[in-house]
Symmetry: C2
Subunit: 101 residues, 2 copies
DNA sequence: TTGTTCAATATGCGAATACGTATGAATGTG
DNA sequence: CACATTCATACGTATTCGCATATTGAACAA
């Protein structure tokens, strides 16, 4: 497979939670992005090391924009995310936590 | 190849700039992450759709933490990044801009 | 200028892996 | 049971990835 299974589980968990929170099935999400349901399944389960372009498309279709933050600023960004999750209507806000290795 | 070459160019540009800004060669960066120089080359040139796990390792080795931000909060995060780029050592702070596609 | 050397980046090829199509398993509803 | 819905797996093709090698570019000498 790819390189570090652990390193990507956090992303995958966040994406799956975002999908479920929006009431989308794997097939529906796949249709939005132009991917087969089977691949969404493998991505979420961590069975494959998905390409960055696909990850970007999936994230954005779920309303999440990936951003590279300098490590020193991560806490500030994280608190900003928590504070800002009050506005939109159905929308869950997801940050990527680093609770694995 | 993967799916959307344009979608990933922003990431790649940011990573390459971060690498160069820190005075690292492709070989040195590769050694830090356990990748051959040849692969770093293809990643930066956009010739391959790199796997997410590798992208995470590279980003973190350069001091950049990928975070999924709700689209509505991107402007706030971005201004935070601009404001906070004073502290670090040689200090390049990189956000992912969406100035393509 | 021409040639040499060294550091950095790019490319060909085989082996490993991701991806798409088709299908199956599991669960729920009448 | 018949049918629908959602997610998971098998197999073949396309792409990535690592190794070895080639190419590029800058600095210097004669």
């Amino acid at each position: 497979m790819g390189r570090s299974p652990a390193a990507r589980t956090v992303w995958l968990r966040a994406l799956k939670e975002a999908r479920v929170a929006r009431g989308l099935s794997q097939a529906e999400l796949g249709a939005m992005v132009g991917l087969p349901q089977s691949h969404i399944s493998r991505i979420e389960s961590g069975a494959v090391d998905v390409g960055i372009s696909t990850l970007l498309e999936i994230s954005r279709s779920l309303g999440l924009e990936p951003v590279a933050v300098p490590a020193s600023l991560v806490p500030a960004v994280r608190s900003l995310l928590r504070a800002g999750s009050h506005d939109g209507p159905p929308r869950p806000a997801y940050a990527l936590d680093d609770d694995d290795g």
